[in-house]
């Protein structure tokens, strides 16, 4: 289930495009991280991919083998792309179970992340931000076995909660899923990637979003090499 954008201009109508992607291809599997400063267009890119923000021009599609389809078919699209916003919903009286069951089987989520089990009958509003964010990631994993798209998911989380989130995301990749995450937190990403297995890392990439283009850097197995690559890219 690869994700492909062609001649896509991303931005807001009536303004110059934030991003111009002639041909952007994301291979299924692996953790793909978009790094960029605030206002670079990360969120708009994600929202465009999710189909809740219109492209200025161009198109994008999911492909698997010879089959491919676009976001027009909403029912199909949302089975392949699920979203985790940066802040977990506030003051939601629904229980964790009720939230999870909007997208699938709550016991399946508890299998993916056993920590969720004791929270099932708690209200989402009774959990800490870190716990609630884990619930939201689990919900997204129930909605889509393919892509899970996260926008600054760790912005409000402490280090321990960030570690739990990365554990869930690499679990998702190990089970055959793909992750697309936007963040400005380079250190967090390095720490997170270091916590995953070499196998997950070998399929992952970091994309620098600057000056309206995306530059992709494969993570590979060696984190030292990645650091050098990033320094070179950021320096140049």
């Amino acid at each position: 289930m690869n994700l492909k954008l062609q001649h896509a201009q991303i931005g807001h109508a009536g303004h110059p495009p934030l991003l111009e992607l002639d041909s952007w291809f994301l291979e299924a599997g692996g953790l793909h991280v978009i790094l960029g400063s605030n206002g670079a267009g990360k969120s708009t890119l994600l929202r465009s991919i999710l189909g809740i923000h219109p492209l200025l021009s161009g198109s994008f599609a999911l492909e698997a083998g010879s089959r491919h389809w676009g976001p027009e078919n909403r029912a199909n699209w949302i089975k392949h792309l699920a979203f985790v916003p940066s802040t977990p919903p506030q003051q939601v009286g629904l229980t964790v179970r009720e939230v999870l069951e909007l997208s699938g089987d709550a016991s399946e989520a508890a299998r993916l992340n056993p920590r969720l089990e004791p929270w099932l009958n708690f209200r989402l509003s009774q959990l800490s931000d870190g716990q609630a964010q884990q619930v939201m990631v689990a919900r997204a994993m129930l909605q889509s076995r393919h892509w899970v798209v996260l926008d600054e998911p760790t912005a409000f989380l402490d280090v321990a909660a960030q570690r739990d989130m990365w554990a869930m995301l690499s679990r998702h990749v190990e089970e055959g899923g793909s992750v697309l995450m936007a963040t400005h937190d380079l250190r967090g990403v390095q720490r997170g990637l270091a916590s995953t297995t070499p196998e997950v890392r070998s399929k992952s990439s970091i994309m620098l979003l600057r000056n309206r283009v995306i530059q992709s850097i494969p993570v590979g197995a060696s984190l030292e090499e990645l650091e050098l690559e990033l320094e070179r890219a950021l320096g140049g």
Partner: protein
């Protein structure tokens, strides 16, 4: 009438013709109208609180009911050749559209509430202007309508209210997954399959229609919509819309019948008549205050 007599009259075995008439033209329509309006307003309150993701939303707070009043004022006071139910429905719908537009523009639900409150004031001002230039007779009709009562409903009107109960109740259950997802946030809900335009359209249409009809039959009823979901939440654990629809309806019936019982009791007493809206405010205001009291630390 004593309870056994009520039962006999209700089942068509009244001991006297008077009892039968009282039952079918007074008691039955009044009770049905109260129960149906209680359910409808309770659901609309729940719906508004979900739609705006704000525990203090409700048809009355957002000025939607005032819109209905303006519609009725135009129909009754200005004598526009328009039935009151149409005036009320159009009035509710107009305000609802305004609020819907505001809600899209304002990021914060609190701003939307303030916007609704301002609309409410502006609309009430327009109603006051109409009142001051109305004839004494039509003014009296309008003022009494404004106090609210279940007692003016005919059997036919009560039956149509029950019809709306079926419509709105089925819709709430049918759309419960959308409403639940909406609570998680507008963007997230859309990535979960909620069509925002479709849902907004359905909510606007249903709320305008239902509130317009209830308002034209029973008057602009205060507090029921806002308060009932909180009474429900105080006593029940379930929050998903599918599981709470019946409970919220039940509490709507209980509170509406309690309020009407109190009104009838003051009537029978021969003393001062307590208008329905006064009774509803007396029952509802403490509920809302207790919500504020509990939530002062976290509502925004």
């Amino acid at each position: 009438m004593s309870p056994p007599e009520v039962l006999r009259a209700a089942t068509g075995r009244a001991s006297s013709e008077l009892h039968e008439v009282v039952m079918h033209t007074v008691r039955l329509p009044r009770t049905l109208a109260a129960a149906a309006s209680g359910m409808l307003l309770a659901w609309l309150g729940l719906l508004m609180q979900t739609w705006f993701r704000n525990p203090l939303a409700g048809p009355g707070v957002l000025g939607i009911t005032s819109g209905g009043s303006l519609g009725v004022a135009l129909a009754v006071l200005l004598g526009w050749g328009m039935p009151t139910w149409l005036g009320a429905s159009l009035g509710c719908l107009a305000v609802l559209l305004l609020i819907g537009m505001g809600a899209r523009r304002f990021a914060s639900p609190v701003t939307t509430l303030v916007f609704g409150l301002m609309i409410s004031y502006a609309v009430s001002a327009a109603v006051t202007v109409l009142e001051s230039s109305a004839s004494a007779e039509s003014l009296q009709t309008f003022v009494f309508w404004g106090m609210g009562t279940f007692g003016k409903a005919t059997l036919w009107q009560a039956t149509t209210l029950l019809g709306l109960v079926v419509v709105l109740g089925s819709w709430m259950r049918w759309r419960s997954a959308w409403l639940d997802a909406w609570l998680l946030g507008e963007e997230l809900a859309q990535t979960m399959g909620v069509s925002r335009t479709q849902m907004n359209r359905e909510i606007l249409l249903l709320t305008g229609l239902v509130l317009g009809w209830v308002t034209s039959v029973c008057g602009p009823l205060a507090f029921l919509g806002l308060a009932v979901p909180h009474v429900y939440k105080f006593f029940h654990v379930e929050r998903s819309h599918r599981d709470s629809v019946m409970g919220v309806a039940a509490w709507g019936v209980v509170l509406a019948l309690m309020a009407d019982g109190l009104v009838r009791w003051t009537d029978a007493d021969g003393g001062a008549h307590w208008p329905l809206n006064a009774v509803l405010a007396m029952l509802g205001a403490p509920v809302v205050v207790s919500v504020l009291w509990k939530r002062t630390h976290d509502w925004s």
